[in-house]
Amino acid sequence: MIQFAPDDTEIERRVEALLFAASGPLSAAEIARRLPEGADVGGAISALRDRYQGRGVELECVADRWRFRTAADLSFMMTEEREEPRRLSKAALETLAIIAYHQPCTRAEIESVRGVSLSRGTLDLLLEMGFVKLKGRRRTPGRPVTYATADRFLEHFGLSNLYDLPGVQEMKAAGLLDLSIPVGFEVPDPSRATDNDDEPLMPGDDDSPEFAQDFVAED
């Protein structure tokens, strides 16, 4: 790229870009190192400072280094409106995956696939996010509650119904199952799951908080 000797406006642009992209505050010397010899860094910084004066973002000097930060009077926007990131933990994602493919399934069944016991809160989180719902009770000793995916799950993953969940073919196509496909590996088709073994929840079962509490206590 041919670079003509840049004028002051161009130097200002470059300083602006550098300060914006930098991962921390930059000193004038650090900035100068990335500019053509003899560039007026001081002048560019002070021009930028004036330009951003009173804007939503301001140029600030801390310990002889420069950085952009949002205007102090707008800090209320940064704190009050902050929202918790909703990132699914590995455990949550894995649990969700098992419920999706093996639904309806009990907590014990989830644990048997995962090989570790479900930590407190994993299922709660999925229930709270509306990805998973209580489905019924298994007609086996202890009558354990079964879980299934809820509508929000389909919405989030853009599936029109459970039949659309990717199966073995797609797992292969995506390179997830290649060399060492376990013998007899099968992925259950949740859309053909039979609920015959399950009984419906009693009225109030699914929204009674004590129940969820109970369940958590079993951990």
Binding site: A21, R82, V113, P166, M171
Partner: protein, 273 residues
């Protein structure tokens, strides 16, 4: 059909093409027959719509011939394409007398379709160039290097794709499979049957309320069942004996010690120290 295209494989054709286009056989650069055809079509320097399919077929056959002469191992689909093109070419050259085998579309249509496919692939080639020449994130353009400490995270986005879901599922099923083949993880349980025999054996001596953990057999073999399994199975077996009316069980409160005692007469239990 083979006879029909033999004449095309003569050396003059190869040499003509070779001399004219200085076409270098470089299989590494091509993904498949269609990519080769596209590269050859470009040498005709005409609009892909006005492409001479007959000539393209000749060029391709020369390419295949040259590749074989230089001992390149050609994949089957390159050869299938060669014979198909030879066939197409022969049909294009033959005067159209009768309606072929009836079901087959006219050769001109097949040629047009091939031209269309080449156009389509060419369009995608151009699209790749157009897309990759755009400023790319973290290569040409950069977002804020140091976002504010109080980051505003777009709230309606949850970081989980269907691919991740699938990956999470497969990973676990894999692990499950591996666990199944790990003999070290097998859990030995104290069989209920054995627990029942054990209880019946010592029952005559249990005329006092005795704590459950003193009644359960003590674990001796480190490979055998765990102490918890001994205790649990003994409790289960004792409940069966209660049902049969052979003994009583009591527990003062939840989590308190469980006491066992036989019903009726019997010998006193010798407690192990």
């Amino acid at each position: 059909m083979t006879e029909a295209f033999q004449p095309n494989l003569d050396f003059t054709a190869v040499e003509q093409v070779d001399a004219r286009e200085a076409f270098v056989v470089d299989l590494e650069g091509y993904e498949g027959p269609l990519h080769v055809l596209l590269a050859l079509a470009r040498t005709q320097k005409v609009d892909l719509l006005k492409l001479s399919i007959t000539r393209l077929a000749e060029q391709y056959l020369a390419f295949v011939h040259e590749a074989r002469r230089r001992n390149f191992a050609l994949a089957a689909d390159y050869l299938v394409m060669a014979s198909w093109l030879a066939y197409l070419k022969s049909r294009l050259l033959l005067p159209r007398t009768e309606k072929g085998k009836g079901e087959e579309p006219p050769a001109e249509e097949m040629a047009a379709a091939l031209a269309f496919r080449l156009q389509k692939l060419e369009a995608m080639r151009r699209a790749v160039e157009a897309i990759t020449s755009r400023p790319q994130l973290k290569r040409d353009v950069f977002t804020r290097g140091d976002p504010e400490a109080t980051v505003i995270v777009p709230s309606d986005r949850i970081d989980a794709s269907l691919y991740e879901l699938m990956a999470a599922y497969v990973t676990q099923r894999r692990r499950e499979e591996q666990r199944r083949y790990n003999p070290g993880q097998r859990v030995e349980a104290f069989a209920l049957e054995a627990a029942r025999d054990w209880l019946r054996d010592i029952l005559p001596r249990m005329d006092q309320w005795t704590p459950l953990d003193r009644v359960a057999p003590e674990r001796t073999d480190t490979d055998g069942p765990s102490q918890a399994s001994f205790t649990a199975s003994t409790l289960s077996a004792s409940l069966e004996l209660v049902k049969e009316g052979a003994m009583d069980v009591k527990q003062a409160t939840a989590f308190a010690e469980v006491y066992l005692k036989r019903r009726g007469q019997g010998m006193p239990l010798e407690l192990t120290p």
